[in-house]
Each structure stands twice: as C-alpha cells, then as structure tokens.
C-alpha cells in the first residue's frame, strides 16, 4: 500500500463517518437531541442488503431498496413509537431520551442478530465496473461510490435546508420544539421528516460502506460513536461541518493504526472525544446566533 492509497482509504472512511454525522445532524437540528440509533440504522441497511442477496439471491439493487425502506421504517418507528411518547411524558428531559435511544439501539442490534444471524456478512457492491487505476492508486468502484454519494447527500441536504420551505422549518422547529408548536408550526411532521431523512442517509451509508470490511449485527454501536464524534468535532454550525468532522476521524481511524498498531485508533477516538468534549463541545463550526 502506498501512502496515497491510505489517504484514499481515509477519505472513504471520512465520507462514511460524515454521512453518519449528517444523519445525526438532521435529527439534532430538527428534534434537538442526538439519536444514538444512527449506527444501528446503518448496520441495518448494510446487513439487510447482504442478507437478502446471500439468502434469497435477490439482485443488489432491489435488496438495497428493501433495506433502505426497512431502515426508514425503523427510523420513523423510533420517533413515533419511542422517542415522542417518552419525551412527551418526561417533559423533554435529556436522560429519558438518552435511555430511550439506548434501548432502541440495543433492540435494533438484537433484532438484526435474530433475523439476519450473528456472523459477519460480506458487503454487496452496488457498482460493478472495474477498479480504476490513477497513477499508483487503485480506486475500487465501491470507494468511488461511497465518496460520490456522500458528497451528493451533503449537497442535497444543504440545498434542501437552505431553499425549501420544509428545510427552513427544520431549523425553526429544532431551535425550540415548544416555541415552534406555540407558533403553530407542524413540529411533529417536521421531526418525522428529519428522522426519515436520517434513516435514509444512514442506511445508504451502511450499504456503501459494508463492502469495505463486511457488516454484522454489532457493527452499529461503534458506528454510532464514530458518527456522534464526527458531528461533535465538526459542530452543527453548517450542513457541511459534519463532513469535516467525519474526514478528521477518517484520518485518525486509518493513520493511527498504520503508525502505532492495531488498537491505536480506539485510544485516538477516546482522546479526540475528551479533547473536544472538554474544550470545544460546540464543535469547530459554530452557528452564529443572531440576537
């Protein structure tokens, strides 16, 4: 492997983390909390696709479409069936919401294990063209797709939030759910849209990343943490900030093990988390609040 190949790998990893962070970002902007079930959504997307292809000989595209639909259903169920009722009862406290998403995270893991089995399944590549060689670097089609789709997701999200009515409402609703409800804004509908979009983005990320190292029912927790870390490092100041955070973590994830051995990235993640949570919990890109 050349250094350049490593950089490509880091960018790909960064795009994956970035997409997870984008899913966090959408829900955080719309509903004001961090949905730790993002990682399991991605796992669901990847694992369900592989399972359908391997078990039922389904084509990759229909399998992926089914997996995305299932994941979106789970995301909508998270909001409608768990988070909304729990928040309604507890009056918006942070701890009940946290415990609720932890329960969702755990339940999705177990559900996936029960339905799809516990072994790691190989990921299915959506692209079938030959690897492209640029100089010394060989670009796998799956990598190309990962990077392309990530950039596209961010671009579309940015456009959506900036130029559509619903997108602009997302911000208004997320600033204060209660105030928005008093103003007569459709808080519940907007929140649901945020969850559905997050589920879509996460499922896509999971499907595209699975070919890299396979996926099993327990992949979700580590992905949840990486995505959360990426959105914290990037900050919620702009739609693109999570991608930046993801890239930074991608570098950590790829280069630390390369230079310091197998487990170094775990220590690196912890170090970055402590560093950012302690000194810059608002992230690198802070949204300027107009008084």
């Amino acid at each position: 492997m050349t250094d350049l190949q490593l950089w490509l790998s880091a960018v790909e990893m960064g795009c994956f983390f970035g997409m997870l962070a984008l899913a966090y970002y959408l829900i955080h902007v719309g509903a004001g909390f961090f949905n730790f079930a993002i990682g399991p959504y991605a796992m669901m997307g990847g694992l369900c696709t592989s399972w359908l292809v391997i078990t039922y000989d389904l084509g990759v595209w229909p399998a992926a479409a089914t997996a995305v639909a299932v994941t979106i259903g789970l995301a909508a169920l998270t909001e409608l069936g768990v988070v909304r009722p729990v928040q309604k009862r507890s009056g918006g406290g942070e701890l009940p919401a946290l415990v609720a998403v932890a329960a969702v995270l755990f339940a999705i893991q177990q559900l996936a294990g029960y339905v799809f089995g516990y072994p790691t399944l190989p990921g299915q590549s959506l692209a079938t063209f030959d690897p492209v060689t640029v100089g010394e670097v060989t670009v796998q089609p799956s990598s190309l797709l990962m990077i392309g789709v990530a950039l596209l997701s961010f671009a579309l999200s940015a456009v959506w939030i900036r130029s559509t009515r619903t997108g602009r409402l997302l911000r208004a609703v997320g600033d204060s759910n209660r105030a928005a409800a008093l103003l007569g804004l459709p808080v519940n509908r907007i929140r649901l849209i945020a969850f559905v979009l997050a589920g879509f983005v996460a499922a896509l990320a999971g499907i595209l990343f699975a070919p890299k190292a396979g996926v099993n029912s327990l992949s979700g927790l580590a992905w949840s943490l990486s995505g959360f870390l990426a959105v914290v490092v990037g900050g919620t100041g702009s739609v693109w900030a999570p991608l930046f955070g993801g890239m930074l973590l991608g570098l950590v994830e790829v280069f630390l093990p390369y230079y310091f051995g197998g487990q170094a990235h775990v220590y690196g993640m912890l170090f970055i988390a402590l560093l950012f949570f302690a000194f810059k919990p608002q992230g690198l890109f802070v949204r300027t609040v107009r008084a």
Partner: protein, 338 residues
C-alpha cells in the same frame, strides 16, 4: 414507597421492626433469594445462572448510585467490573497475597479510576458523557488486549487459586450462596442510603443541582464520590464472577452488559435498588436460561424494555408496590365497613 413515608416515625417507634428503613425490601429480597436457591439446588448450570445474576445485579446496583440517584449516565461500568475481575486474576497469578485482598484492591482501584474519569468528564452530561464513557469502555478492552504482560492479552488470566478465608475454603455452592448474600446486603444498604441524608442530597443533585450547591455541598465533588461508590460496587461483582468462572478475558465484561445494566432498573423499577436486582434476575433468565427461543431471549428483553418504558415506567417493583399500596388501602377499609 412506604419506607420513605415512615422515615421520622422510625425514630418515634423506637424498636418496632416494621419501621426499620428498607426492611420491607430486604425481607422480600431475601425471600426471593431463598426461593431461587431452592429452585437451583445442586444443578451446576443453574448455580452458574445465580452467579451471573448476582454479577449483573451488582453492576446494575453500582450504576444505580450515579445513574438513578444522581442522574448522570456513565457507561464505563464494563471497565469497573473488569478491574474487579482482573484484580482477582492478578492477585491469584502474580502475587502470594491471600485472594481476599483482591476484593479490597479491585474496588479501590475501580473507584480511583472512576474519580479520574469523572474529573476528566466533569463538565459533560447526557449524550456527551454517555459517548465518552462508552469509548472509555472500548479503550479499556483494547488496553487489556494490548497489555499482554499484565493482563495475559486476549487469552486473559485463568487457573485461579481457591479463596482462603482464615483457613476456610468455601465450596462452589457456598460461593453461590455467598454471592446471593452479598447482593442482598448491598441492595439493602443502598436502599437505606437512598433514604438517608446523603441519599437525599445526591438525589436532589439530579433535578436541582443549583439547590444542592446553594445549600453548601460542592456538586462536582459529591458527583465524584457517587461515581466512585458505584464503580467499587461493580468491581465487587466483577470479582465474584471471575472467581466463580475461574478465569477472565477482555471479553468477559462487554458493553452489552452495560446496556443490560441500564435497562435492569427500568425492568425491575427505578424506585428502589431492589428493582435493579429484580431486573438482573429477569435479564439472566431471559438471556441465558430461555430454552424455548434461546437466541431471541435478548431480543425479547430489548423489546420488553421498550414496552415497559412506554407502558409501565415504574417497572416491575414499582408496579407491585402500587398494587400493594392499593391492597393495603382496601384492607384498611374493610374493618370500617364491618
């Protein structure tokens, strides 16, 4: 909780046994423990289930103090239980000290680590605290695998020496009995602690930290004490499990157990520490001893947690308590009518 309402009366009534704080829970807990032990008998597998349940219960009881009393969800408990376990393994393998020392050293080291982690994360709460402590748990596992000289790497430590308490070596069954007793004693003491002035201050920290600070107690410091206490209790559980299992590896205490430990009080009831114990028993029954649909026991548990959270937020013990209160009210009314 009736124990809570009878608090000042306990003093007035003097020696009336029914007015001793926490005695009701202890009586029920001991009765349940006896029933479980009778059910277990000499069945080796069922005995393992009891030690597992005791370990789960101790980890959940450890989390009870910071999580349900002080309101901060730290998830590094796999590490604390691991320290308790490795203390037993290391004292056995690398020192000539009596094995009992491990139960002193393990909890103390776990408490110190909890304080250290608590200091570093003192400004965090909610999602941020949960994420950092989860990452810490992962890093701790990584460390155990890396530090082969100390921890035996991924193979872990085995071949433990038998416990020797002043010349008495407990049998396997006595260890099972002992772990049940330890759980009952700690749950009873925590139940009393909850009602004590210390418990009142810590529980006020959850909803109204400003009030605690304004009353003269430094909130961050008391938080560290609560974390240390919880870590020490979890380490006791880790030690018990390791001794019963005869070995420990980096995978003995996984993040899965931490998640289960968050849910146990929800299942059992967050109102009293006995709820965590009840939840631990139910969790072990479902995850380890559910012959009909073995692999789905954990799924059933996870779904059950979601349902309980939505339908019966006070959990099993809370629900039973409500029934009991209603029953008492009915019984008290009967004589009037007659």
């Amino acid at each position: 909780m009736t124990t809570q309402t009878s608090q000042p009366a306990a003093v007035a009534a003097g020696r009336d046994i029914r007015r001793v704080p926490g005695i009701g829970g202890l009586a029920l807990g001991c009765a349940a423990a006896v029933l479980i032990l009778l059910w277990v008998g000499s069945d080796g597998y069922k005995q393992t289930l009891v030690t597992s349940a005791a370990t789960y219960a101790l980890i959940a009881l450890g989390m009870y103090v910071p999580y349900l009393m002080a309101g901060s969800l730290s998830m590094a408990y796999s590490a604390y239980a691991g320290i308790g376990g490795y203390a037993v393994g290391l004292v056995s393998a690398k020192t000539g000290l009596p094995l009992a020392v491990a139960w002193l050293v393990g909890p103390i080291v776990a408490a110190l680590l909890a304080v250290l982690l608590g200091l570093v994360t003192r400004r965090l709460s909610g999602f941020f605290l949960a994420a950092v402590t989860l990452l810490f748990g992962m890093a701790f596992t990584a460390f155990l695998i890396d530090a082969e000289a100390l921890s035996g790497g991924s193979g872990g430590l085995g071949n433990l020496r038998p416990l020797n308490l002043f010349g008495w070596t407990p049998s396997h069954y006595q260890m099972v009995l002992g772990s049940a007793v330890v759980v009952c004693v700690i749950a009873f003491l925590l139940d009393r602690l909850r009602l004590s002035p210390w418990g009142v201050i810590v529980r006020t920290m959850r909803d109204a930290p400003r009030a605690v600070e304004a009353a003269g107690v430094r909130v961050p410091v008391l938080n560290l004490v609560a974390l240390a206490l919880g870590a020490a209790i979890a380490a006791v559980g880790g030690g018990l499990f390791t001794y019963s299992a005869g070995s420990i590896t980096p995978d003995t205490f996984t993040l899965n157990i931490v998640f289960l430990a968050i849910f146990m009080p929800l299942i059992g009831g967050a109102g009293t520490p006995w709820g965590a114990v009840a939840g631990a028993v139910i969790a072990v029954e479902l995850t380890l001893n559910f012959p009909a649909i073995e692999t789905s026991g954990t799924l059933l548990l996870a779904l059950g947690v979601l349902v309980i959270m939505l339908v019966a937020p006070r959990g099993v013990v809370g629900y039973a308590d409500k029934l009991r209160t209603r029953g008492w009210a009915l019984l008290r009314k009967e004589p009037d009518r007659g």
